[in-house]
Symmetry: C2
Subunit: 353 residues, 2 copies
DNA sequence: AAAAATGATGAATGCGTATGCAAACATGCA
DNA sequence: TGCATGTTTGCATACGCATTCATCATTTTT
């Protein structure tokens, strides 16, 4: 059982292999100038000692931590975000970056979190479902740390951002509802201070207005329960809505459950419901939710590529990308006469702003 | 607009403040021996330069990274795990630890992931929904890195582990089903190689056996869809089951949907369904799932405390904790004659093994 | 065969911080 | 005033690696 060795260092490996510490370093640096023979010697000695390069020391030396800071919210309340996190994590992983994670709650101030990331000299920062203060944005750019926003639109910063075209999504929802003959519609918002919710609302309103309609607005707090309660309020209205568009799927599902189980309403016969995101649950037979799908994989790919490019090429130019969502028509909405049942998915596209 | 300063160092701050670099270091080290007056000078200079200590350098020097490695699986397929992640992340956060995250898929080998964590000299490792090879366990203990398993039972390692009492949970499910007069039951397993699923199955079988019953077993692959398919298979059986116990809630929900929407079965009138975890969805009116609740917060608290204690006190003793779950009776199961409708929650307790 | 180019190697240094140690200083007490 | 005690301070060094530079060994060129 012999050894009680702990974290061998490159110097120890060097001694055992009969070479210099530099040689050990080179053996573990792809593309470094080192003879095949000495490399073998080094690796053998390394194995014997259970040596593994110390990434902390390397980071200090290279001034690259190979760590990406990810800040994410709503992980437990919206199944959309675990998917985002999963995809992000895998992408960075396979691109050789580690992930330092911060899960934040709505009331947590990002300005307290970011310094903790910067402390570790992360190579880049990815924020999702979180808004960046301009002070912090400035701080990041001062430090040369690229920032990418996912699913939040930019203030005036030079952070990149990758979003679904929320305004157009709102319009699509409005069009579908109007084409299928609804006259009194409602919007269940997430909150008053989130770009996603505001933009979806805006597109929805705009399109409705063209036809002289105006939606009720109710707060759903971005949660199942909040939307459940919102739906009940809507149904108490003198002229209750015959269609409800929700700022995301989880709220749409809350509305659906409220309508069916608390209000004894038939969906879609009496009330249509439409969501946003297309989370897996939306396709479950209990819900069969009509929704606007966010092309998550594509968006994540772009976001990750952009961030890594800016890190590696030291590019300063940031990018604002808007990705068109797909309308997925299921059975929570009445069908417009022109459409047959089942799926109808509009083609999607990516647009640079 | 002046400065284009980038990442000031303690030496620069020292110069500006007219003190030594040591003084700067001490100003940022709680409890260090430094006069109040010089501390003020330092902090002022630091603010002026936008200085923030470099955690990487500190880690190298102190041999403490203040980073916890978290490995987690099933983040997108089981809502239970985002909750776990959220709780873990917050606890570590408020205890001054950062989190390095690895999201793994079932087919990914942990033995490829752990080295990536060890490379960064994480202070501790928390694995959830992931199994540790004994080689890697040995490697960690060799390096003095404490490991904690959450929701997986230990092989023979000296890793700590925090689990729900799955066997007892299985028994509780069996008892409830038998008391409410079921005669042909089934178990929808997750997989054949996961302790949680196996233990829940074992407890379930044991208790049934006492009364001469034996369950059908079907694989649900730990997913909604897998369980959906499993339920359909079960219903094709010559003597189809009148009750189904699932290794977790997400599968129970898949079974429920299959029964109601694909098999036109009434739940609980024709078939009872019972799950495990008590994820938020279980309480939704569409499902109203009877289940065994895992006291997540309590378990996480214990796990985090244990891991941090072992890190700080350099304790070697690991801990195996088994937490009793609570039976939450909702409306997906027929009620035994003794019980009235609504909730029945058994008291829970923690047991050390 | 000599000169030039190429490749491999090790010594030395730097990355930014923490900390042991000894010196300097302040304080209390007799 | 003198000495003992306690507090601050700076110097020097270590942490583990990457990398520059000069040196030396090898190969290629003419």
């Amino acid at each position: 059982m012999a050894e009680r060795k702990v974290n061998a260092t490159s110097t120890q490996v060097a001694k055992l292999a009969g070479v210099s510490q530099s040689a050990v370093s080179r053996a573990f640096t792809p593309g470094a100038s080192i003879a095949e023979s000495t490399k073998r010697k080094v690796l053998q000695a390394a194995r014997k000692l259970g040596y593994q390069p110390n990434a902390i020391a390397r980071s200090l030396s290279t001034k690259r931590s190979k760590i990406i800071g990810i800040v994410i919210a709503n992980v437990t309340t919206n199944p959309f975000y675990p998917e985002v996190l999963d995809a992000l994590s895998h992408r960075f992983q396979q691109r050789g970056q580690r992930v330092m994670l911060f899960v934040v709650t709505r009331d947590q101030n990002l300005d307290d979190i970011l310094p903790q990331l910067l402390e570790y000299r992360v190579d880049g920062i990815l924020l999702t479902a979180a808004t960046l203060s301009s002070a912090m944005a400035h701080e990041c750019s001062r430090l040369g740390v690229p920032v990418t926003l996912f699913n939040r639109s930019v203030p005036d910063t030079n952070a990149s951002s990758f979003c679904c075209d929320n305004i157009e999504g709102g319009r699509m929802a409005a069009r579908l509802l109007m084409e299928s003959g609804h006259h009194q519609v409602a919007f269940v918002a997430g909150s008053r201070d989130t770009s996603t919710s505001l933009e979806r609302e805006r597109g929805f309103r705009e399109e409705l207005k063209k036809h002289g309609l105006e939606p009720y607005i109710e707060m759903g707090k971005f949660s199942y329960q909040g939307a459940f309660d919102a739906a009940r309020k809507l149904m108490r209205l003198p002229k209750s809505p015959d269609a409800v568009f929700c700022a995301n799927d989880i709220m749409a599902i809350g509305v659906l459950d409220a309508l069916r189980h608390a209000e004894q309403k038939k969906v879609p016969e009496e009330v249509s419901v439409i969501g946003f995101d297309d989370i897996p649950m939306a396709a479950w037979p209990s819900y069969n939710l009509t929704t606007i799908r966010q092309p998550i994989e594509r968006m994540i790919d772009s976001a990750v590529n952009d961030l890594l490019d800016r890190i590696n090429q030291n590019t300063i130019v940031s990018k604002q990308e808007l990705v068109r969502g797909d309308l997925v028509v299921r059975f929570s909405t009445k069908l417009p006469s022109g459409l047959s049942s089942g799926y109808v998915i509009s083609t999607s596209e990516t647009r640079n702003v």
